[in-house]
C-alpha cells in the first residue's frame, strides 16, 4: 500500500518549500514540489529608476544578495547596449567568485553534510586512526591526532551535557547512515574548520563590495570602487593584497579539505551515485566576462538535452538570442490567474490561491522552461556543460574527482555517475575548485590592468525616450539566474526575475512534465517513512533557496516544522 509523506516546514518564515512524496515498496513513486510563499516582489520595481533596480533586487533574498544585484545591473546594461570597463568586470567577477566559494562551502558543511554524517558515531572513532586515514588522503595540517582528539572531546562534552546543540535534530543511527566512525569524526572536525573559512572568504566581498551582506559598490555601467593605489579610501595596493592573501588561504582549504571530503563521501555512498538524476536537460549561462562587451568568458554556458553531452550547444554572449528567445514560464500548476506559458517580457503576476491539488494547482512557484522543456540548473549543469565543451579547468577537476573517489572506492567511475544526488555535491565541489583557481587569475588580471594605468571603473548610462528591453544573466551558486526588464521613457515598466530555484523547484507544466526536484525524487529509496532522510538528501543536493524573503523570529512559538505521514 502506498504511503503519502509530506515534509512541510510550517512557518517561521512565511511559507516555504513543501515536498510531498508517495512511497510504495520502499521507493518514491510520485513527488510534488510546492513553494508555499507568494513572492511577486518584482512589481515593487515598476515605475522606478532603472539605475536603482539593483538596490531593490539585492533584497529579494537574504542569502543571494550580490547575485541579484549583479544580474540586475547586467540587465539594464543589456537594455542600453552599455559596455562595462575591464576593471569593473574584474571587480564584479571577484565578488561573484568569493560569494560562490562562501556559499558552496556553507552548503556542503553546514547545510547538508549532516545528511550523510552521523555526529554521535564520531564518539566511537579512534583519533589516531582518524588522523592516519586523513593523512593518507590529504596534506592538510588540520588533521593531526591531537586535533581529532580535541574535536571528539568537544562532541563528548556536548553529548554528556545533553546539549548536542546544532545537531539535535540529526538522524543519528538512521539505517541510511553508513560512514565509519573515523570518517564521521573527520567530517565533524572539518565542519568546525569550515566555519572559519567561510567567514574568511566573506571578507573579500566586504573588502571589494564596501559592505556585506548587501554590497554598495555597484552601478549600472560599472562599479563605484575608486582606484587609487596611494589612497586609503580607495581600492589600493593594501586592499588588493589582503584579497590575494585570502584567495591563497581559501584555495588551500578547498583543495585539501573540501575536495577530499566530497570524494570520500561519494566513495562511501556509491549507491547515491545512482539515485536522483531526474531531469537530465541542463542549462548554464556563461559568466566571469573577460571583455567589456560580454563576449568572452572564463566559465562557459550552454544547454544539454537528455544527458547527451555530445550535442551540447553553447550560449556565447550576454546578448545571445539562443538564450533570450527560448525562455518561458508556465503557470498551469501554479497559483496564478490563468493557464498560460509566456516569455518573461510578457509575463504578469496575478496571484490566485486555491488549495493544494495534486492534479491542478499546488505551488506559488512558476515553471520555467527552455524550448518548452524542464531544465536542471546549478553547479551540475555548469560542470557538465563545461565538460562537454572541453573547458580545461572543469575537465581537469572533474577527472581528478572521479579518479580520487574511484580510488577510495576501488572502482572505476565514469562521468555518467554525475547525473545523481551525490553527483550534484561533487559538481558543486568541482565548480568551487575551478572558481578558486579562476579567482586568483582574475586578481592577476585586475592588478595587471591597473598596473597599465587604467583606472576606469564606470561608463555613465543614458536612457533614450521610448522603450528598451533587456535581459541579464548570472551563473549564481544555485544556477542560472536571469532578470528581464522593460524600460519606458527612463522608468521601469516591467521587471521579472527567473531564479535558479524556480527552474529546479517548479511544479509540473502545461504538458504535465515534472520539474527537476519532482523527477529526481522518483525511485529514491525511503527506509523509514517517519524519518525520510533519503528525501532530504536528494532535495538538499540541489541547494534550494526559497525561504529567505521574510524574516520573523518566533521565540514563543511551538514546533515550526512537521514531517507528516499519511
Amino acid at each position: 500500500m502506498s504511503k503519502r509523506i509530506t515534509v512541510d516546514p510550517v512557518t517561521r518564515i512565511e511559507g516555504h518549500l513543501r515536498i510531498d512524496v508517495e512511497v510504495d515498496g520502499g521507493k518514491v513513486q510520485k513527488a510534488w514540489s510546492s513553494g508555499q510563499m507568494f513572492r511577486g516582489i518584482e512589481t515593487i520595481l515598476q515605475g522606478r529608476d532603472p539605475r536603482d533596480a539593483w538596490l531593490f533586487t539585492q533584497r529579494f533574498c537574504g542569502v543571494c544578495t550580490t547575485v541579484h544585484a549583479i544580474a540586475s545591473v547586467r540587465t539594464v546594461e543589456n537594455a542600453l547596449g552599455l559596455e562595462v570597463p575591464l576593471n569593473a568586470q574584474y571587480i564584479r567577477n571577484l565578488i561573484v567568485m568569493a560569494h560562490a566559494m562562501h556559499d558552496h562551502i556553507v552548503h556542503f558543511y553546514h547545510l547538508s553534510a549532516l545528511d550523510w554524517v552521523d555526529v554521535v558515531s564520531a564518539l566511537k572513532a579512534d583519533p589516531v586512526k582518524t588522523a592516519a586515514l586523513a593523512n593518507s588522503l590529504s596534506p592538510w595540517p588540520g588533521n593531526s591526532k591531537e586535533q581529532m582528539k580535541a574535536v571528539q572531546d568537544k562532541v563528548k562534552g556536548f553529548v554528556e551535557a545533553g546539549q548536542l546543540g546544532i545537531f539535535t535534530n540529526g538522524y543519528w543511527g538512521h539505517p541510511a547512515m553508513k560512514l565509519p566512525p573515523e570518517v564521521n569524526l573527520l567530517a565533524v572536525a572539518h565542519y568546525l574548520q569550515a566555519l572559519e573559512y567561510q567567514r574568511k572568504v566573506n571578507q573579500i566581498v566586504a573588502l571589494l563590495g564596501g559592505k556585506t551582506p548587501n554590497i554598495q559598490n555597484l552601478a549600472v555601467g560599472g562599479v563605484a570602487n575608486a582606484i587609487n593605489l596611494d589612497s586609503d579610501s580607495a581600492l589600493n595596493m593594501n586592499k588588493l593584497f589582503m584579497v590575494k592573501d585570502i584567495l591563497d588561504d581559501i584555495s588551500t582549504f578547498i583543495e585539501q579539505v573540501y575536495f577530499v571530503d566530497v570524494c570520500a563521501i561519494a566513495a562511501m555512498y556509491p549507491e547515491w551515485l545512482g539515485y536522483g538524476a531526474g531531469v537530465t536537460n541542463y542549462l548554464a549561462v556563461p559568466d566571469l566576462p573577460l571583455d567589456t562587451k560580454g563576449t568572452k568568458f572564463d566559465l562557459p554556458g550552454g544547454t544539454i538535452f537528455d544527458g547527451d553531452l555530445a550535442h551540447v550547444r553553447e550560449i556565447k554572449t550576454f546578448d545571445d538570442p539562443y538564450f533570450k528567445e527560448n525562455v518561458s514560464e508556465s503557470i498551469a500548476h501554479s497559483w496564478y490567474d490563468g493557464d498560460w506559458t509566456k516569455h518573461p517580457y510578457e509575463e504578469t503576476t496575478d496571484p490566485k490561491y486555491t488549495t493544494f491539488e495534486d492534479t491542478k494547482k499546488y505551488s506559488w512557484v512558476k515553471s520555467p522552461r527552455f524550448q518548452g522543456k524542464p531544465m536542471q540548473v546549478g553547479p551540475l549543469a555548469q560542470v557538465l556543460v563545461g565538460f562537454a565543451l572541453g573547458h580545461e579547468p572543469t575537465k581537469r577537476w572533474a577527472v581528478k574527482t572521479l579518479d580520487t573517489a574511484g580510488a577510495i572506492a576501488k572502482v572505476k567511475l565514469s562521468p555518467a555517475v554525475l547525473h545523481s544526488t551525490l553527483g550534484r555535491h561533487a559538481a558543486r565541489m568541482i565548480r568551487t575548485c575551478v572558481i578558486s583557481e579562476t579567482a586568483k587569475k582574475h586578481w592577476g588580471l585586475l592588478a595587471a590592468n591597473i598596473g597599465k594605468g587604467d583606472t576606469t571603473i564606470f561608463n555613465p548610462p543614458t536612457f533614450p525616450k521610448g522603450e528598451q528591453r533587456g535581459f541579464g544573466f548570472h551563473e549564481a551558486p544555485r544556477g542560472t539566474l536571469s532578470h528581464w526588464i522593460v524600460i519606458r521613457d527612463g522608468k521601469i515598466a516591467n521587471y521579472q526575475a527567473v531564479v535558479p530555484s524556480t527552474w529546479n523547484a517548479g511544479p509540473r507544466d502545461g504538458q504535465n512534465q515534472p520539474g527537476p526536484y519532482e523527477a529526481s525524487l522518483v525511485g529514491n529509496p525511503v527506509a523509514d517513512a517517519e524519518l525520510p532522510l533519503e528525501v532530504l538528501r536528494t532535495v538538499h543536493s540541489f541547494d534550494p533557496c526559497l525561504a529567505c524573503a521574510v524574516h520573523t523570529l518566533d521565540p514563543e512559538g511551538n514546533e515550526i516544522a512537521t514531517v507528516k505521514v499519511l
Partner: protein
C-alpha cells in the same frame, strides 16, 4: 569578520516586505539620529539565515532587532534574552536555508566562538506582505526600539549620543522615482 567591533547591533528583516523591514528600519534610525562610540558596529544584515554566523562570531555582545511572533498587538515591543531564544532547540532542516538565529548560535557554540551576550529587541508586526512602508503601529515603535538599544548599550558604557535635528529616511522609502531620461 573584519571590520566588525566587539559589540554589534544587527537589524534583521526584508525591506521589501512591509513590517518585516522593522529591523533594517531601526538600523537606519540609529545611524541617522545617534552618534555611536568606538567599539560598536551597527549593521543592516537583511535576511541571511545561517549566513548570520559571521556577524555573530567572536562578539562580546549582540543586540538583534527583528519582528517577532507573539500574542500581542502590532507595534508591541518585546525583549528576549539569549536563553529564551535558545529554549526551543534548533529545528529540523528541510530547506537548507531554514537555519536561522538559533541554529547560527548553536553552531557557534559548538565552534567555541559564540557571542557572550545576545539580546533580541523585537516588535510584533502588523502586515508582512509585499510593500516598502511600515504600518503606523510598527512605525510608531521604531523610536522606542532605538531607545531600548541605546539604553542597553549604556549599561555596557557604550551609550550613543543623540544627534539633534536629524531625520530618518530609509532609502527604500524615500527614493522618489524620477525620470532617468537624458
Amino acid at each position: 569578520m573584519s571590520g566588525l567591533e566587539k559589540v554589534r547591533v544587527l537589524g534583521l528583516g526584508n525591506v521589501l516586505m512591509g513590517d518585516d523591514a522593522l529591523g533594517p528600519w531601526v538600523i537606519e534610525d540609529l545611524l541617522a539620529r545617534w552618534e555611536f562610540p568606538q567599539g560598536v558596529s551597527v549593521v543592516d544584515v537583511g535576511t541571511p539565515g545561517l549566513d548570520l554566523t559571521p556577524y555573530l562570531a567572536d562578539a562580546e555582545a549582540v543586540f538583534l532587532v527583528d519582528t517577532v511572533k507573539a500574542d500581542a498587538p502590532p507595534g508591541t515591543l518585546k525583549v528576549y534574552s539569549r536563553g529564551q531564544l535558545l529554549s526551543r532547540g534548533p529545528q529540523p532542516r528541510v530547506s537548507p536555508h531554514d537555519p536561522g538565529l538559533a541554529e547560527a548560535l548553536f553552531s557557534l557554540d559548538f565552534a567555541g566562538c559564540a557571542p557572550k551576550e545576545v539580546t533580541l529587541v523585537g516588535v510584533v508586526p502588523g502586515k508582512v506582505e509585499k510593500g516598502v512602508t511600515l504600518t503606523a503601529a510598527v512605525r510608531a515603535a521604531v523610536p522606542a526600539a532605538s531607545e531600548e538599544i541605546a539604553g542597553r548599550l549604556g549599561w555596557l558604557g557604550l551609550r550613543p549620543a543623540r544627534r539633534p535635528g536629524t531625520k530618518t529616511e530609509p532609502w527604500w522609502e524615500v527614493r522618489i522615482p524620477e525620470t532617468a531620461c537624458a
